[in-house]
């Protein structure tokens, strides 16, 4: 065939040219590029430009300061997100639940709707959606612009640079550090960002471990539990610091898990050749702050609203239904909780928590209200109407959990661990399927973290009980 003839001829020429054709061409290209660039650049400001960037980089990647600065950045972003979100969250909560809920109730009532219909729509669907919006929208609206600003400025590749050794140890591609960071905002977004990893094998590792980045939906849970359980053991003056510290510990634990699990994966089921690593550290570019913030907030708002409606609403409906259908003396939810309880306690948790996690598969944000509601339900308290998700202040929440739910410090700690180590939310799972087109890997990404979660919680519970 003529094609083979061409290829053969080419091979022969290659031989006689000494096999350096590619090198010669590339060298010539760069020579020309140099020549032309030199003629075109009239005034060089190179030195000044490099000096500033370099000075900054020397600090941000230094042996002494590099990692601490990173930790501080993470803490700063965390702190700004949390404190910044407090007020808007409370306001949204007040508006949507404090005022919106009763208003809807009365509206439904005035339309003469049967109580189960009102209950289903207002107490089930609406409340779940409202909770997700008020809990999730403010932190996301703050975190993502912050993240984007750091991104646009050019800091993130420096983080990759700093952590590269660790990721190399983990058998992973350097860019995984970036996808991991993205996951701190939203795991689904983190999954999509793995597209920057070209090797399919390494991309899969990044996808499977992304859930160890604590997404915005889990911050509130961690902060609440950290505050009312962990910080409660510390003197009040340090309570705030201890609470923040405990959350930071979990976050760092997440990073360590990412590295550890990546390493295990890259040595067992996802073995292969590491790809060639090269990372450009672009010059720092002050971003157009206003533009970034506005655009980011808009984009995020839309995503959260969509998610609230599509994911949380059905979850709310389900919770309401199972809490209000009475079979054999107890609600379906009550039965479910009771059935899970032995396993839960063995893990240092309880049946309510496990049940709540099942209900919260669509959206991590509704964990706390679901736990509260189920706790009160199971304890047959009159504090809450059946199936209504609640808003309680911290002391009241603690009371409910400890007195009605039998929570201890162990429960609090293990809940924080489990919050890190459980299956991804359904949005993330769907995204994983879309990106991998594989049921097998989607299943893995769901079961692996939760398996690890069970193991870790069980171990902690065991050791704790032995020690105390």
């Amino acid at each position: 065939m003529a094609v083979d003839g061409i290829l053969q001829a080419a091979a022969q020429y290659r031989q006689s040219l000494g096999g350096r054709v590619h090198e010669a061409i590339v060298e010539r290209t760069f020579e020309e590029a140099e020549r032309i660039a030199e003629r075109a650049v009239v005034r060089e400001g190179e030195a000044r430009k490099f000096a500033l960037d370099l000075a900054l980089d020397r600090v941000l990647t230094s042996r002494v300061w590099g990692l601490p600065v990173m930790g501080l950045m993470l803490a700063a972003v965390l702190w700004i997100t949390v404190t910044g979100a407090n007020v808007p969250s409370a306001m949204l909560n007040d508006l949507l639940i404090g005022q919106g809920h009763p208003w809807l109730l009365s509206m439904f009532g005035s339309m003469g709707s049967p109580s189960w219909v009102t209950g289903f729509f207002v107490d089930g669907v609406y409340l779940a959606t409202a909770w997700v919006i008020s809990v999730m929208l403010p932190p996301m609206a703050i975190f993502f612009p912050l993240f984007t600003l750091l991104e646009d400025y050019g800091y993130l590749p420096r983080v990759s640079f700093n952590l590269d050794r660790a990721f190399r140890w983990a058998g992973a591609e350097g860019k995984q550090s970036l996808t991991m960071m993205m996951g701190f905002g939203c795991n689904a977004a983190g999954i999509v960002s793995t597209r920057i990893i070209s090797s399919p094998r390494e991309r899969l590792i990044a996808i499977l471990t992304n859930n160890f980045s604590i997404c915005n939906g889990r911050w509130p849970t961690l902060i609440l539990i950290g505050t009312i359980f962990v910080a409660a053991t510390a003197p009040p003056a340090f309570a705030g610091l201890v609470a923040a510290g405990s959350v930071l510990v979990i976050a760092v634990l997440g990073v360590l898990m990412t590295l550890l699990v990546s390493r295990v994966l890259s040595r067992t089921i996802l073995k292969g050749e590491p790809s060639h690593f090269s990372l450009e550290l672009p010059p720092y570019r002050p971003p157009q702050i206003g533009k970034v913030i506005v655009r980011s907030v808009f984009d995020r708002t839309l995503i959260v609203l969509w998610r609230a409606v599509v994911m949380a609403a059905p979850a709310g409906a389900l919770i309401w239904i199972t809490s209000n259908i009475i079979v054999g003396g107890d609600s379906l939810a009550g039965h479910f909780v009771g059935w899970l309880d032995p396993f839960g306690v063995a893990l240092g948790l309880n049946g309510v928590i496990l049940a709540a996690y099942v209900f919260a598969i669509p959206a991590n944000e509704i964990i706390v209200p679901t736990i509260l509601m189920l706790t009160l339900n199971v304890a047959r308290s009159t504090m809450a109407q059946q199936g209504v998700m609640l808003e309680l202040d911290q002391t009241a929440t603690r009371d409910v959990l400890v007195n009605h739910g039998g929570w201890t410090l162990l429960t609090g700690v293990n809940l924080m661990l489990f919050s890190l180590l459980h299956n991804p939310c359904s949005t993330t799972l769907m995204t994983i399927y879309k990106e991998t087109k594989s049921w097998k890997w989607t299943l893995w990404s769901a079961l692996m973290p939760i398996g690890i979660g069970f193991a870790v919680c069980g171990l902690v519970a065991l050791v704790w009980r032995l020690v105390t």
Binding site: H22, E23, V26, E27, F30, E46, F50, L54, D57, R58, T61, S62, R63, V64, G66, L67, F161, N162, L163, D164, R165, A166, R168, G174, H276, F277, S278, L279, E280, L281, P282, P283
Partner: protein
């Protein structure tokens, strides 16, 4: 000497790339070509990865690549 022996902040000129195939092409495309000047600008805090300035761009490489770049030091 090899690139990892360039002192931090020091410059050198690439003499040869002791790599083959894809890896070599990749580096060449980034500008790591014999005759090009590179400057060692940053070392990663945990070690193992080095950032070089080449043709005005800062690019980080792992030492399994940088120890295969042969250079001759620049007098400056």
């Amino acid at each position: 000497m090899i690139a990892t022996q360039i002192p931090v902040g020091g410059k050198a000129r690439i003499a040869a790339l002791k790599l083959v195939g894809q890896e070599k092409r990749r580096l060449m495309d980034l500008g790591f070509v014999p005759g090009a000047e590179i400057e060692r600008v940053l070392d990663a805090p945990l070690g193992g990865t080095i950032a070089f300035r080449i043709r005005g761009t800062v690019i980080a490489l792992r030492d399994n690549q940088t120890d295969k770049i042969e250079v001759t030091p620049c007098k400056n």
